[in-house]
């Protein structure tokens, strides 16, 4: 069965490519720091299951040491000049989009095939890994098409991949680090503590105030944890189920769904949701690492108000 381990092997190879590509770039003064950083991630992807918990912990500390001492840099060489790219774009035209669209197309067709044909029952692909397996398949297909059609130098994929990887840098592992922080928070009982704190300040008698506290609790807790998934079970246990559903007789479907969506408004406003908010800032080479969050706040706040209104009206008055 094709499962996550196959992808770890493939991803490890890609990260080894980032390490090699970084080491090959003399225009990057800190290239050995970059090579070590991507090399450690390669080790994690390939051998993480054999390192033991403490071994993995030391690996994490080593990654943090490289990033924390500012030992990551980026090169200045460009493989093609602006004129060459312009010329290539006018010669090849919109066909250039095709390899880029192969990846979403594979995900689209693959998801449909997996869900609506006997493929799922055949047990070839682990259902938990299917999204990532399709991503991997799309990437391999697109790489093959690029090499056959564009005939780049052999090392081009390695060099171009590491050029992008080094422009994003440490932000690439931040989401995984935050997920590990979530594990520590859970082990230290942070969720239960916050649930108890919120539960202690519930106003009695006012449905609207309880709705407000529930939605704001989802937002604040989501902003702390970086995702609404961690916040929902805690807020449901503290307010959603005992007060809104049982005591005040609210519609459970509305309380559940719109409560989660209130949390998503919090996701738009927190650097802890790194893969949505910090990584794109790095990926788009923004000067301000909080540039994306800053622009999302004016959407998130009116949307939160809308969600509170929906919770109150659809939850209690329909």
């Amino acid at each position: 069965m094709i499962n996550l381990h196959w992808l770890y092997i493939f991803a490890g190879a890609v990260f080894a490519g980032f390490a090699i590509g970084s080491a090959r770039d003399p225009s990057n003064a800190k290239r050995w720091g970059n090579a070590a950083f991507w090399g450690l991630l390669t080790v994690s992807l390939w051998f993480g299951d054999f390192l033991g918990d403490i071994g993995n912990g030391i690996l994490v500390l080593a990654l943090v040491a490289i990033a924390g001492t500012h030992s990551l840099g980026r090169g200045t060489t460009e493989s093609t000049t602006a004129e060459e790219r312009e010329a290539s774009s006018s010669r090849r035209g919109n066909t250039l989009f095709l390899p880029a669209l192969v990846i979403p197309f594979t995900a689209f067709v693959g998801t449909l095939l997996f869900n609506y044909t006997p493929l799922k029952a055949a047990g070839i692909i682990d259902p938990k890994a299917v999204t990532l397996v399709l991503l991997g398949t799309g990437v391999i297909l697109a790489l093959v098409i690029c090499y056959v059609w564009l005939r780049p130098p052999a090392f081009a994929a390695v060099d171009e991949g590491s050029r992008l990887a080094n422009s994003i840098g440490w932000a690439m592992v931040l989401p995984q680090m935050l997920a590990s922080l979530g594990v520590i928070f859970a082990a230290a009982g942070v969720g239960t503590t916050i649930g108890a704190l919120v539960g202690a300040i519930i106003p009695s008698g006012s449905v609207f105030l309880a709705v407000l506290l529930y939605a704001l609790g989802m937002v604040v807790f989501t902003m702390i944890m970086g995702n609404a998934f961690a916040a929902f079970p805690v807020m449901a246990a503290a307010i959603g189920v005992p007060i809104l559903i049982h005591q005040d007789g609210g519609n459970a479907g509305v309380i559940g769904a719109v409560g989660m969506l209130s949390g998503f408004c919090g996701t738009l406003m927190t650097p802890m949701a790194a893969n949505f908010n910090i990584v794109p800032a790095a990926l788009l080479e923004l000067k301000n690492q909080y540039g994306v969050i800053k622009l999302q706040i004016p959407t998130a706040i009116p949307l939160l108000i809308a969600n509170i209104v929906i919770l109150y009206i659809a939850g209690f008055h329909l």
């Binding site: 500390l61 290539s88 006018s90 994929a157 680090m177 942070v190 702390i224 990926l283």
Partner: protein, 223 residues
């Protein structure tokens, strides 16, 4: 008696991020401090951190896409995205991003959340197109404007994803809500939950769409 000390870890994250220390460093320090304040010995904290990191490797797999994006950029993908928009009459940044917002919400509502995203579509296609459209509206772009247009492209992807995906029945968050409520004896079908994601999705489209139109007006004014 509840131990409130681990909450100090949250404060460390907030302060560390606000002072713009390296975020990896902030997160690691906060993790270790939180664990120690939660009465775990150091080696135990290190083990939990290492275990958590290893279990969450799948989060990092998405970067396998970078060699493809890099290769296509080498052959002028971003330039072509710009040329395409440059040749379209009436294309503006706001209209382009509104179309993208609608597509992203609809695809996510059909469960196709991974067909688009920051590395897949925003960096190679959407952001260069939005920049090209802004250039048509305004002429030469100053740095502040181009930062704003790029950040708005990323923000539009997030809003489209977050406020589309919950309409799909089999998405992780709907299953999580269903599971959490079931543990309190409240039995709901995914449909009873996902139908209530529709009003919020419409509000998200209207609110964010209005902001995109405002962005257009701002871009036109600066000309």
């Amino acid at each position: 008696m509840i131990n409130y000390w681990p909450l100090l870890g949250i404060a460390l994250v907030v302060v560390g991020f606000a002072l713009r220390f390296n975020p990896l460093l902030v997160v690691a320090v906060a993790a270790i401090v939180t664990g120690l304040l939660g009465h775990m010995p150091f080696l135990k904290v290190l083990g939990v951190l290492g275990h958590g990191f290893n279990e969450n490797r799948y989060v990092t797999i998405v970067w396998i896409i970078l060699p493809v994006v890099g290769l296509l950029e080498r052959y002028g993908l971003q330039e072509q995205a710009r040329n395409l928009i440059g040749g379209m009459r009436g294309a503006t940044t706001g209209r382009l991003l509104i179309v993208y917002l609608a597509i992203r919400q609809i695809l996510s509502a059909l469960g196709l959340t991974t067909v688009a995203g920051h590395p897949q579509t925003v960096r190679p296609l959407v952001a260069p197109m939005a920049i090209a459209a802004a250039g048509k509206q305004r002429g030469e772009l100053d740095e502040e404007t181009s930062e704003r247009v790029k950040a708005m492209s990323a923000a539009t992807d997030n809003v489209g994803l977050f406020f589309g995906e919950d309409i799909f029945l089999a998405i992780a968050s709907i299953l999580l809500i269903q599971g959490s409520l079931a543990s309190f004896g409240i039995q709901l079908t995914p449909f009873q939950l996902s139908m209530w994601a529709i009003p919020s999705a419409i509000c998200a489209f209207l609110i964010h769409g209005a902001r995109l139109l405002l962005l257009d007006r701002k871009l036109a004014r600066g000309k």
